[in-house]
């Protein structure tokens, strides 16, 4: 099947602004956008830059805006998109080159919510016990691969890049609701910030974009509720 693939390109060594370049390709309908990008890179123009690694939706490298929505290039097929496909870098983040964006700020926000287990009690000789029900509470948010699709799809984030963003909240949620963790209070305080959970306007772009199917908005609201509860 013949598709027209438009890629938004930008080379900081040559360009002052990004521009669209169109490529015609013959592809299998079951091919993924990543395959198309590879076809361009390996057969037409090897200077095309995009991140990717695992090739099956597990490493979070290749989140990008595909036909106007954030998707992983390795997890969306041509038959889901049609004959006209456009690919652009994640919106709202500084573009380094072609489809590569600067993720440092994204990771800095992730770090800011203390995304690690805090438990100062001396560990027991065996595992810490946790019931299946206790574990189920935060199961969903352990799936995050930090691809950035959610945060960069969020209109609140576009408007105020200081917003800590859904991805960081998801990772805070993963610990706040872990029965073994003791750092929840502090995380809640961090997220009660002006740039914290209150910036979320329940827009749900994040949920639509998340390649791991995480119910991000639910996680955010559970954190908001915990903050309200704490201050009540």
């Amino acid at each position: 099947m013949h598709v027209s693939l438009r890629i938004q390109r930008f080379d900081p060594d040559r360009d002052t602004a990004s521009h669209w370049v169109e490529y015609g390709l013959d592809v299998d309908p079951m091919a993924r956008v990543l395959d198309l990008l590879h076809q361009v890179k390996w057969e037409q123009d090897s200077s095309l830059a995009f991140r990717r690694s695992c090739g099956h939706g597990i490493c979070g490298s290749d989140a990008m805006m595909i036909n106007g929505r954030n998707r992983l290039a390795c997890k969306i097929r041509v038959d889901q998109l049609g004959r006209k496909i456009s690919v652009a870098p994640l919106p709202g983040l500084p573009v380094v080159k072609d489809l590569v964006v600067d993720m440092d700020g994204f990771f800095a926000k992730y770090r800011s919510v203390h995304p690690f287990l805090v438990n100062d009690d001396p560990p027991p000789a065996q595992e810490r016990r946790q019931s299946q029900a206790q574990r189920a509470v935060f199961d969903d948010t352990t799936k995050c691969i930090l691809c950035g699709a959610c945060t960069s799809s969020c209109p609140s984030f576009w408007a105020r890049p200081g917003y800590v963003g859904p991805a960081a909240i998801v990772n805070a949620h993963r610990f706040i609701f872990d029965s073994r963790d003791q750092g929840g209070e502090e995380r809640l305080q961090i997220l009660a910030d002006r740039d914290g959970v209150w910036r979320c306007r329940t827009i749900f772009n994040c949920v639509d974009a998340c390649p791991r199917g995480i119910n991000i908005t639910r996680a955010i609201l559970e954190v908001s509720a915990a903050i309200v509860e704490k201050s009540a």
Partner: protein, 130 residues
Amino acid sequence: MVMIDPRTAGRSRPQGSGFELFVWYLMRVTGVMLFVLALAHFSIMHFLFDPSQESASWIAARWGSLAWRVFDWTLLMMVLFHSFMGVRTVLLDYVHGTRARLLSMSTLYIVALILFAAGTAVVMTLPVVA
């Protein structure tokens, strides 16, 4: 070469903000109240009556009842708080730069105060016409 320390890049260490929590919470509380008050108000004004039947004296007559004064005043307070805090959110989203922000926020709050005062004045002080 300047190395960015990824630990500190991005945003400064945030402090919890009670004010934002307060606004978030009250937006919801006033929202629920407005659902009743504002819709009731609109229905009364347009469905039970019709603007063509209404006049200044008709309004004034209605305020002969204390209940209506309380109703209208509550509605007014709710709507002013809710809508100004709502617009504050919108402005904070789209107005960047410290100066522009300061300017827009002060204007907003001043207008809000004036309307609070003016509205209260009307509802409270209007003489009752028989």
